[in-house]
Symmetry: C2
Subunit: 299 residues, 2 copies
């Protein structure tokens, strides 16, 4: 098995190391030299450009930040399309607009390259241990050609459609709900604090009641611990919600609660917390309500 990973940030590095651990020959490329050195030390071959990665590998995973970067590493100078042999597969894992990922199959098809629109979920730890989930859209032939790599890097794969774009659409639907649920959890927590309730009791009751959500269960313990080291940053979620809202606007789907939730994350960033964990939206609510959040635990 031979695979390339372009964009070895937190997620991409996890994927590259996971592939190496499964005995795969891995080629990588990143704009940051230190990330490339870390991958090289783990056993990856470092290439000078995306085209070189693509020339060496029949399956290339891109995990760069956004559509602009994906466009550059795939279609830009010395990009994937310049190096990849016909029949190769591009597995595009970034969260992007369906307006970008939709035409990807046709654009790559002109070069004889197959395409999967395959956003991921689960965070760096699950990328590293191969248990992240993927929402995969694309032609069956593309899926079959990438199957071994997909199965190596993910614990759960949802086939959400045969047209590229549907992976992005599903990711935006999920992230819309996740973002709202997270803001709701923090809005509710601070509401309870303002009413004089104990934060640990709030978490205990809500977790066992109809107000429960994955977002509340995952993020409120961070708020209670005063731990805002970023697993997923406020700025990223504000960006994802913005992408959902723009996609909704283009499709004529009104998302009033999503719009309200996004404002909470924008306000949180405005208070200087954009690079903190997205649980920091609780800080915005607490600031507005004039209540104190639990202080960080002593280490």
């Amino acid at each position: 098995m031979r695979a390339g990973v372009i964009g070895i940030g937190a997620m991409g590095m996890g994927v590259a190391k996971r592939l190496l651990a499964r005995g795969c020959a891995v080629s990588v490329r990143d704009v940051r030299r230190e990330a490339e050195e870390e991958a090289r030390a783990a056993g990856a071959a470092v290439c000078a450009a995306p085209a070189e990665v693509a020339a060496a590998c029949p399956v290339v995973v891109t995990l760069v930040v956004d559509a602009r970067q994906t466009e550059e590493v795939v279609f830009g100078p010395r990009g994937v399309v310049e190096g990849m042999a016909p029949g190769g597969v591009l597995v595009m894992c970034s969260t992007v607009s369906p307006e970008f990922s939709g035409p990807l199959a046709a654009r790559l098809g002109r070069h004889g390259i197959l395409a999967l629109d395959a956003p991921v979920s689960g965070g760096p730890a699950r990328a590293l241990d191969g248990t992240m989930s993927m929402m995969i859209a694309g032609a069956p032939a593309a899926y079959d050609a990438a199957r071994a790599v997909l199965e190596a890097i993910s614990g759960r794969r949802f086939h959400v459609g045969t047209r590229t774009g549907d992976g992005s659409r599903m990711k935006l639907v999920n992230n819309l709900m996740a973002g709202i649920n997270l803001a709701a959890a923090c809005e509710g927590l601070v509401f309870g604090l303002k009413l004089g309730l104990d934060p640990r009791t709030i978490l205990e009751v809500v977790s066992a009641s109809s107000g429960a959500s994955w977002a509340a269960g995952d993020r409120l313990p961070r708020v209670l611990a005063g731990d805002y080291s970023p697993r997923a940053a406020v700025d990223i979620l504000a960006k994802d919600l913005g992408l959902a809202l723009e996609t909704g606007a283009a499709a004529r789907a009104a998302l009033p609660i999503g719009a309200a939730a996004r404002q909470s994350f924008i306000a949180t960033a405005a208070l200087g917390h954009g690079q903190e964990d997205d649980a920091a939206v609780a800080k915005y609510y607490a600031r507005v309500a004039g209540v104190a959040l639990p202080a960080p635990e002593r280490r």
Copy 2:
């Protein structure tokens, strides 16, 4: 064991029957004759007024609709305070404003009666089988005096505070999150439908991803089945969210996402769905977006 139940609607009837099933002597009172007849057939003693229920029972559970009705059955003509012997306990289970439930302990204390502010969660089926959960606030002496009854009628009890009012506060915090999460789930589902995604795939992916919530997992299957028979009605959730918003306004806790969510339920009721299951908020989103929801399954 001897206990009274005042207000035998869906929840109260479940509680009364559960107590009877556990061998408890039960006295009931309701304004609807047919509910009283159903309870009598199940083995309960039917009383002519709340005062009679209270005279017969050291523990009385009220499960009427709101604070106005609670005020009437407890403090009104032939109310609980006129019949209950000193040392008796009123277990107030309705979802009410903390402005009403807060002073309850002091008001009843003047009559020598103990008070618990104990909103319930879980719906009629769990009331009937004794597994509903309770958020209980009140003095330890009140809790001890009612303990056997509380343990008979609930599967899980959260002691949220020693002052009446805290039960209501916790319930409003939970219902705020539940209401937002439900509206978010329906907003996201319809967003996905508008983008051309398959509804069953959306539910499957979201349930296993960061967008998961209790509300999505419980209500979206109803939307997919086209089943809007009311387990919890739109009007009730709109009322509960209104109570949360008023309580937040009085305490100076801004709840912008809760406010947006409430508008969705109000709009749903305005479209004529107020008495349907609260999952019908999906109908409002679908109407606005111009997409069709799954039709009811043939029976």
